[in-house]
Amino acid sequence: MADEGQAPDDLTFTHQELDEKATEAIEAVLASKIYDEKEVSRWINEICERIIKSLYDTRKPFKYMVTCLIMQKTEAGLLSSGACMFEGGTDMMQQFLWPKEKAKDQANKTMHAVVTIFCARF
Protein backbone atom coordinates (compact mmCIF):
# COMPACT_ATOMS: atom_id res chain seq x y z
CA MET A 1 0.00 0.00 0.00
CA ALA A 2 3.01 2.28 0.05
CA ASP A 3 3.19 4.51 -3.03
CA GLU A 4 6.15 6.52 -4.16
CA GLY A 5 6.83 9.31 -1.70
CA GLN A 6 4.48 8.00 0.98
CA ALA A 7 5.52 6.97 4.50
CA PRO A 8 6.20 3.25 5.00
CA ASP A 9 3.52 1.14 6.60
CA ASP A 10 5.57 -0.04 9.54
CA LEU A 11 5.57 3.09 11.66
CA THR A 12 7.87 1.95 14.39
CA PHE A 13 11.47 0.90 14.90
CA THR A 14 12.63 -2.51 15.99
CA HIS A 15 15.32 -3.07 18.61
CA GLN A 16 17.39 -4.79 15.94
CA GLU A 17 17.21 -1.82 13.59
CA LEU A 18 18.27 0.69 16.23
CA ASP A 19 21.02 -1.64 17.43
CA GLU A 20 22.47 -1.78 13.93
CA LYS A 21 22.41 1.98 13.52
CA ALA A 22 24.01 2.58 16.89
CA THR A 23 26.74 -0.05 16.45
CA GLU A 24 27.57 1.11 12.95
CA ALA A 25 27.97 4.71 14.05
CA ILE A 26 30.10 3.87 17.09
CA GLU A 27 32.32 1.46 15.18
CA ALA A 28 32.93 4.03 12.48
CA VAL A 29 34.08 6.60 15.02
CA LEU A 30 35.70 4.68 17.89
CA ALA A 31 36.98 1.47 16.31
CA SER A 32 40.68 1.66 17.03
CA LYS A 33 40.94 4.84 19.06
CA ILE A 34 42.43 5.39 22.47
CA TYR A 35 40.58 7.51 24.99
CA ASP A 36 41.70 11.10 24.51
CA GLU A 37 40.26 13.91 26.60
CA LYS A 38 40.59 16.45 23.79
CA GLU A 39 38.91 14.31 21.18
CA VAL A 40 35.96 12.97 23.17
CA SER A 41 33.53 15.79 22.47
CA ARG A 42 34.24 15.55 18.78
CA TRP A 43 33.60 11.79 18.86
CA ILE A 44 30.33 12.21 20.71
CA ASN A 45 29.26 14.85 18.23
CA GLU A 46 30.05 12.62 15.31
CA ILE A 47 28.39 9.52 16.74
CA CYS A 48 25.17 11.39 17.52
CA GLU A 49 25.20 13.05 14.12
CA ARG A 50 25.66 9.76 12.27
CA ILE A 51 22.85 8.09 14.19
CA ILE A 52 20.46 10.96 13.63
CA LYS A 53 21.30 11.01 9.95
CA SER A 54 20.67 7.27 9.56
CA LEU A 55 17.39 7.63 11.45
CA TYR A 56 16.35 10.59 9.33
CA ASP A 57 17.11 8.67 6.15
CA THR A 58 14.37 6.18 6.98
CA ARG A 59 11.87 9.01 6.29
CA LYS A 60 9.53 7.95 9.06
CA PRO A 61 7.42 10.66 10.76
CA PHE A 62 9.43 10.71 13.98
CA LYS A 63 11.37 13.14 16.11
CA TYR A 64 14.69 11.74 17.33
CA MET A 65 16.79 12.36 20.42
CA VAL A 66 20.14 10.63 20.81
CA THR A 67 22.43 10.80 23.82
CA CYS A 68 25.92 9.37 23.86
CA LEU A 69 28.15 8.80 26.88
CA ILE A 70 31.82 7.87 26.55
CA MET A 71 33.72 6.70 29.62
CA GLN A 72 37.30 5.66 30.13
CA LYS A 73 37.60 1.98 31.00
CA THR A 74 38.34 1.53 34.70
CA GLU A 75 36.79 -0.45 37.50
CA ALA A 76 34.20 2.27 38.02
CA GLY A 77 30.53 1.41 37.83
CA LEU A 78 27.91 3.19 35.76
CA LEU A 79 24.15 2.85 35.57
CA SER A 80 21.72 4.45 33.21
CA SER A 81 17.95 4.21 33.15
CA GLY A 82 15.11 6.04 31.54
CA ALA A 83 11.45 6.71 32.12
CA CYS A 84 9.17 7.97 29.39
CA MET A 85 5.64 9.09 28.83
CA PHE A 86 4.77 8.58 25.21
CA GLU A 87 2.71 6.44 22.88
CA GLY A 88 3.12 2.73 23.64
CA GLY A 89 3.01 1.08 20.24
CA THR A 90 5.02 3.47 18.14
CA ASP A 91 7.51 5.36 20.29
CA MET A 92 10.78 3.84 21.42
CA MET A 93 13.50 4.28 23.97
CA GLN A 94 16.51 1.98 23.54
CA GLN A 95 19.92 1.91 25.18
CA PHE A 96 23.00 0.28 23.72
CA LEU A 97 26.34 -0.51 25.28
CA TRP A 98 29.52 -0.76 23.26
CA PRO A 99 31.70 -2.84 23.11
CA LYS A 100 29.27 -5.71 23.34
CA GLU A 101 30.09 -8.62 25.66
CA LYS A 102 30.90 -11.18 22.99
CA ALA A 103 33.19 -8.93 20.98
CA LYS A 104 35.59 -8.42 23.87
CA ASP A 105 38.80 -9.33 22.05
CA GLN A 106 38.77 -7.10 19.02
CA ALA A 107 36.83 -4.22 20.45
CA ASN A 108 38.23 -1.15 22.08
CA LYS A 109 40.16 -1.73 25.28
CA THR A 110 40.25 1.82 26.58
CA MET A 111 36.66 3.03 26.70
CA HIS A 112 32.98 2.25 27.00
CA ALA A 113 30.18 3.95 25.11
CA VAL A 114 26.49 4.05 26.02
CA VAL A 115 24.08 5.31 23.40
CA THR A 116 20.41 6.01 24.10
CA ILE A 117 17.97 6.57 21.26
CA PHE A 118 14.51 8.09 21.79
CA CYS A 119 11.97 8.15 18.95
CA ALA A 120 8.72 10.08 19.26
CA ARG A 121 6.10 9.99 16.58
CA PHE A 122 4.35 13.18 15.60
Binding site: Y35, C68, L79, F86, F118
Partner: protein, 124 residues
Amino acid sequence: MKGTNSQENYWTRPSYKEKFCPLKVREIMKNIVEPKLIEEKYQGRTAINQYTYDIAESVRNALKDEYTNRFKIMVQVVIGEKQGQGVRMGSKCFWDSDTDNVAWFNFMNDSLYCVVIAFATYLY
Protein backbone atom coordinates in the same frame (compact mmCIF):
# COMPACT_ATOMS: atom_id res chain seq x y z
CA MET B 1 -1.48 8.12 26.03
CA LYS B 2 -3.86 7.86 23.08
CA GLY B 3 -3.37 8.95 19.50
CA THR B 4 -3.85 12.48 18.39
CA ASN B 5 -6.96 12.38 16.24
CA SER B 6 -9.59 13.51 18.71
CA GLN B 7 -8.39 16.74 20.25
CA GLU B 8 -10.25 19.55 21.95
CA ASN B 9 -8.40 22.16 19.91
CA TYR B 10 -6.29 22.38 16.80
CA TRP B 11 -3.33 24.38 18.03
CA THR B 12 -0.03 23.43 16.48
CA ARG B 13 2.09 25.45 18.88
CA PRO B 14 2.03 25.61 22.67
CA SER B 15 0.86 28.92 24.05
CA TYR B 16 3.39 31.01 25.95
CA LYS B 17 2.30 29.65 29.31
CA GLU B 18 2.31 26.04 28.11
CA LYS B 19 5.86 26.08 26.78
CA PHE B 20 8.39 23.67 28.23
CA CYS B 21 10.53 25.83 30.48
CA PRO B 22 14.03 24.35 31.05
CA LEU B 23 14.78 26.52 34.07
CA LYS B 24 11.65 25.46 35.87
CA VAL B 25 12.30 21.83 35.02
CA ARG B 26 15.86 22.12 36.34
CA GLU B 27 14.45 23.22 39.69
CA ILE B 28 12.13 20.24 39.72
CA MET B 29 15.02 17.88 38.97
CA LYS B 30 17.19 19.50 41.62
CA ASN B 31 14.48 19.08 44.24
CA ILE B 32 14.17 15.42 43.40
CA VAL B 33 17.83 14.47 43.05
CA GLU B 34 19.53 16.38 45.84
CA PRO B 35 17.58 15.02 48.82
CA LYS B 36 18.04 11.48 47.51
CA LEU B 37 21.73 11.53 46.70
CA ILE B 38 23.39 14.16 48.83
CA GLU B 39 24.53 11.73 51.53
CA GLU B 40 24.86 8.63 49.38
CA LYS B 41 27.95 6.64 48.49
CA TYR B 42 28.25 4.47 45.39
CA GLN B 43 27.74 1.09 46.98
CA GLY B 44 27.46 -1.37 44.19
CA ARG B 45 25.18 -2.01 41.31
CA THR B 46 22.01 -3.21 43.00
CA ALA B 47 21.66 -0.28 45.38
CA ILE B 48 22.30 2.30 42.70
CA ASN B 49 20.02 0.56 40.22
CA GLN B 50 17.08 1.39 42.43
CA TYR B 51 18.14 5.03 42.63
CA THR B 52 18.39 5.56 38.88
CA TYR B 53 15.02 3.99 38.39
CA ASP B 54 13.39 5.95 41.24
CA ILE B 55 14.81 9.25 40.10
CA ALA B 56 13.75 8.65 36.49
CA GLU B 57 10.23 7.77 37.55
CA SER B 58 9.91 10.69 39.96
CA VAL B 59 11.12 13.22 37.40
CA ARG B 60 8.83 11.80 34.77
CA ASN B 61 5.82 11.88 37.07
CA ALA B 62 6.56 15.43 38.16
CA LEU B 63 6.83 16.57 34.54
CA LYS B 64 3.71 14.66 33.64
CA ASP B 65 1.79 16.72 36.22
CA GLU B 66 3.35 19.93 35.00
CA TYR B 67 2.91 19.41 31.27
CA THR B 68 -0.23 17.29 31.00
CA ASN B 69 -1.47 16.09 27.66
CA ARG B 70 0.42 18.12 25.13
CA PHE B 71 3.97 16.89 25.62
CA LYS B 72 5.67 13.53 25.35
CA ILE B 73 8.27 13.32 28.11
CA MET B 74 11.47 11.27 27.96
CA VAL B 75 13.82 11.19 30.95
CA GLN B 76 17.24 9.60 31.22
CA VAL B 77 19.21 9.27 34.46
CA VAL B 78 22.87 8.26 34.60
CA ILE B 79 24.63 7.59 37.90
CA GLY B 80 28.31 6.69 37.92
CA GLU B 81 31.08 6.07 40.41
CA LYS B 82 33.85 8.63 40.69
CA GLN B 83 37.22 6.99 40.28
CA GLY B 84 39.14 9.66 38.48
CA GLN B 85 38.19 8.28 35.07
CA GLY B 86 37.30 10.58 32.20
CA VAL B 87 33.66 10.63 31.19
CA ARG B 88 31.62 12.81 28.86
CA MET B 89 28.01 12.83 27.72
CA GLY B 90 26.38 14.70 24.87
CA SER B 91 23.15 14.62 22.92
CA LYS B 92 21.69 15.66 19.60
CA CYS B 93 18.07 16.05 18.64
CA PHE B 94 16.04 16.18 15.48
CA TRP B 95 12.80 18.02 16.24
CA ASP B 96 10.77 21.18 15.88
CA SER B 97 12.75 23.82 17.73
CA ASP B 98 9.71 26.08 18.17
CA THR B 99 7.86 23.57 20.29
CA ASP B 100 10.31 21.03 21.69
CA ASN B 101 12.97 21.45 24.33
CA VAL B 102 15.42 19.78 26.69
CA ALA B 103 16.45 20.31 30.31
CA TRP B 104 19.34 18.74 32.19
CA PHE B 105 20.78 18.70 35.66
CA ASN B 106 24.18 17.53 36.94
CA PHE B 107 24.88 16.53 40.50
CA MET B 108 28.11 15.45 42.16
CA ASN B 109 29.19 14.38 45.59
CA ASP B 110 32.37 12.71 46.83
CA SER B 111 31.72 9.25 45.49
CA LEU B 112 29.25 9.57 42.66
CA TYR B 113 27.91 11.81 39.93
CA CYS B 114 24.40 11.95 38.53
CA VAL B 115 23.13 13.36 35.25
CA VAL B 116 19.42 13.79 34.58
CA ILE B 117 18.24 14.83 31.13
CA ALA B 118 14.63 15.34 30.07
CA PHE B 119 13.34 15.81 26.53
CA ALA B 120 9.86 17.10 25.76
CA THR B 121 8.28 16.91 22.34
CA TYR B 122 5.02 18.62 21.57
CA LEU B 123 2.07 16.54 20.50
CA TYR B 124 0.41 18.32 17.59
